[in-house]
Amino acid sequence: MKIRMKFSKNGPLKFVGHLDIMRYFQKVFRRAEVDIAYSKGYSPHQIISFAAPLGLGVTSDGEYLDAEFHSVSSSREMLEKINEQMNEGIVLLEFKQLPDKCKNAMSSVAGADYRITFRDGYYEEEEFLEKTEDFFAQDAISIVKKTKKSEREVDIRPMIYDMKVQDGHIYMKLATGSVNNLKPNLVMEAFCRYLGLEHEPFAFMVHRLDTYLEKDGELLPLGSAGEEIL
């Protein structure tokens, strides 16, 4: 059966990269002795896939991974069993069964919410907070996207679904996934330019709040595709 799990990744764990988190989970599942499915062949591996890779240095409360299980107990028991084997800073939040025909996490991703916190010593954050509304209100926000081969101008405004200020943080809802993908750092870089400021890459601490799929034109948490196992 297909299972979708949601987890958080905070603290020093933000320095552990995407591929290493994958290997981390494989070992967690082995230690927890859960009945996860393996591929066939001489070097069998667990059939797991992640939703949207998280950049190094980014924390999150809304990461997802899908895995194939042979058997499970209730969601509550599974969470308990798996969390016993997890490290400080990384917590399993949901364990839900997916319908058989459900698209996998990676191809379902359509958007994500982010919170930007200002690191001390770089900018006057007021400057950003006051102008967030104006920045978002623009019709187009063009940036230069560099690839290995070329540089081209891209309008990122359509990929910013929402942007607002709350309690001294900037919140933004961005297109994420294989069709359109916009990273929060790129938005902040454009924001700096808009304010006529030099871009300081370390000035912003990025936290992902949740990752979304699209259903009937609406963005819903990826976990909503699954059902709690009772």
Binding site: N10, G11, P12, L13, F15, V16, G17, L19, D20, R23, Y24, Q26, K27, V28, F29, R30, R31, E33, Y38, G41, Y42, S43, P44, H45, Q46, L56, G57, Q85, N87, E88, G89, R119, F202, M205
Partner: protein, 619 residues
């Protein structure tokens, strides 16, 4: 949440920041208020290499079982972080507490290969601990060295307060107890070191004086104080099954070289290859019991979640219960998706059966280590492997579907002549012929035989410790001769030959059999920028040559100079059980091309029986 020694800005600037954050699964957290002794264990190379080392995992676990000791880990910061730490004056820190190493009671450094010597100095300097032991004060940690290179500690002796000679599982707690006593009674660093020298196996370099003959060889090495032993006796675990072993090894976040459960099935080797230092210093050969190993396999897999388990020993085929253990592991864990890896196996019917069960024959290769190209030279080095055994093994494997063979050789061995060198290519050709002797429709495409050669470095405490080395040009000439011979072979398209760099060999040669005079060169090389010398992209031979030149150290004295049979070696003050007389006999046997039987066939009276255990006392 755990604190970190490095800022986010630094961690996001450097490669693989997870090397420096600690907090790995099974790493140990202790309350500093409840421990008396803080021990920082160091492997002086990058995290991924250091974390793959079994010895540290054993000692880390052993120390932390003691409530009053807190053992943490530190590795060499990679060059990117090294630069930042120097610029910003950040002291090197231990992974667990992220506290500066200089605040610890002990810094223990495992010394596994000569090419890490400059990294030792890096760790000391970044820790802000004086590099030379004589410059350290009461507030500095006691710096201890251990591991195989300490069987000739002299080239680095003056950087250490003391060395632990032998296996760490034995007298470390005595040292810790002595330290606690000394700390409580307020005794000085000097006084503590003097007392420590009284513990068997502990070598305190500052308490010995070395004098030299006019020709530069050692005249004598004498203790400068009473109660300091003339000879330092290697410490050995007498019963491996009783010895401590980690049930919960630390599991790194990032992929490391040895990313698996390691079961040490046996220590030592019965074979007695004359070039092999491990084969001498780990004598007598001692195995762990089958039952204990099964139990460790369960616990370690369960506690780590690793997807692979590997057996570790110098020669697994000589472990008496190898069959039972291997089939048990396959039966028990194979179906749980655990890979089983079996290095250092002799190729025979059993190993081929096992290998076909645990790996994809089409993708894997067979490995032989004949070490020398001709039977004559294999007799000189006492490598029991015969051509017949190699060819039969290869043929059986080819019939089983294998078509890739790896061969390991050494060049520059004592008495080696052109025929021995060419023999490397001839042997590879003969293996190819075995393959093509199989009817075409039963073959699995073309055979691929890859031979590689390293250059021989004579090591202390081996029968070849008297051997002379060659110049870099001579090593290269030999490699080229072998390569040319490969090109003349009928099946040359199925064969390939690779060889190592000779410059590293020369440096290893100087450091392996060096004396205290070499320390200045190591220091000079480090100061001129040498670091990570075992990494080809960082190894700078030119700088090393300059360092030797500047410090007046003559490379040839250590490499190409013939050594007299009665010469006093810098390492002679260590007693490894195996006697110098035995080594002399074996050196003579080598020259006479006489083979010495392995320990199970017949005892050769090497001296290791004094340790009252292992193969010397098997019925």
């Amino acid at each position: 949440m755990q604190k970190l020694a490095l800022s986010d800005e630094i961690l996001l600037t450097i490669e693989k920041p997870a090397r420096y954050i600690g907090n790995e699964v099974n790493s140990v957290k202790k309350d500093l208020n409840e421990v008396d002794v803080r021990f920082c264990m160091c492997f002086p190379d990058v995290y991924e290499i250091g974390m793959s080392h079994l010895g540290i995992q054993i000692l880390y676990d052993m120390f932390n079982r003691r409530e009053d000791v807190y053992c943490e880990r530190v590795y060499s910061p990679w060059t990117d972080l090294d630069k930042i730490m120097r610029e910003q004056n950040i002291p090197l820190f231990a992974l667990e507490s992220q506290d500066p190493v200089k605040d610890f009671d002990f810094l223990g450094i495992t010394i596994q290969y000569e090419m890490c010597y400059t990294n030792i100095l890096q760790v000391l300097e970044l820790s802000q601990i004086p590099i030379w032991a004589k410059d350290r004060t009461e507030k500095d940690p006691i710096v201890i060295g251990g591991g195989p290179c300490t069987y000739n500690p002299e080239p680095i002796a003056e950087f250490f307060d003391l060395f632990y000679i032998g296996e760490g599982e034995t007298v470390y707690f005595d040292l810790i107890d002595l330290y606690k006593e000394a700390k409580e009674s307020g005794c000085s660093r000097k006084e503590f070191l003097r007392k420590a020298a009284g513990i068997e196996g502990i070598y305190v370099p500052s308490l010995y004086q070395v004098t030299y003959h006019e020709d530069g060889t050692v005249k004598e090495m004498v203790p400068t104080q009473e109660g300091v032993p003339q000879k330092v006796k290697k410490q050995v675990v007498s019963d491996m099954t009783e010895a401590t072993y980690p049930e919960k090894p630390v599991v790194p976040y990032i992929k490391v070289t040895q990313d698996r459960v390691v079961l040490e099935i046996q220590r030592g080797c019965i074979r007695g290859c004359r070039f092999c230092q491990a084969g001498m210093i780990y004598r007598p050969t001692r195995g762990r019991s089958l039952e204990a190993l099964k139990d460790y396999a369960y616990k370690m897999l369960k506690n780590t979640g690793h997807g692979e388990i590997s057996l570790s020993s110098l020669s697994s085929s000589d472990y008496l219960q190898l069959k039972e253990l291997t089939y048990f592991l396959i039966e028990e864990f194979g179906k749980q998706g655990v890979n089983i890896s079996l290095p250092s196996l002799r190729i025979d019917a059993f190993s081929l059966d096992v290998m076909s069960k645990v790996q994809d024959v089409k993708k894997s290769s067979l490995t032989f280590a004949p070490e020398a190209g001709s039977q004559r030279l294999r007799d000189v080095i006492n490598k029991g492997l015969t051509e017949e055994v190699i060819l039969n093994g290869a043929l059986e494997a080819f019939k089983g579907g294998w078509n890739r063979v790896k061969l390991y050789f050494m060049l520059g061995l004592p008495t080696e002549n052109e025929e021995d060198q060419k023999g490397i290519a001839y042997l590879a050709q003969k293996i190819a012929e075995e393959y093509y002797s199989i009817p075409k429709h039963e073959r699995n495409g073309r055979v691929q035989i890859t031979a590689s050669a390293s250059f021989f470095v004579p090591k202390p405490f081996t029968p070849f410790q008297w051997a002379t080395m060659l110049s870099p040009k001579e090593y290269m000439d030999r490699a080229h001769l072998v390569n040319d011979t490969f090109k003349e072979q009928v099946n040359r398209k199925s064969l390939s030959f690779k060889w190592h760099d000779a410059k590293t060999t020369i440096l290893e040669g100087v450091l392996a059999r060096g004396d205290r005079k070499v320390a200045q060169s190591v220091y000079e090389a480090y100061k001129s920028g040498c670091l990570f010398d075992s990494w080809t992209e960082y190894f700078d031979y030119g700088k090393w040559l300059e360092a030797f030149e500047k410090t007046g150290v003559d490379i040839d004295f250590y490499t190409t100079r013939p050594r007299d049979l009665d010469e006093v070696f810098p390492w002679d003050f260590i007693d490894i059980g195996v006697t110098k007389d035995f080594m002399k006999r074996e050196w003579k046997n080598a020259i006479e091309e006489k083979v010495t039987p392995n320990c199970r066939m017949q005892c050769s009276g090497c001296g290791a029986a004094m340790y009252k255990g292992g193969v010397c006392y098997e019925d």
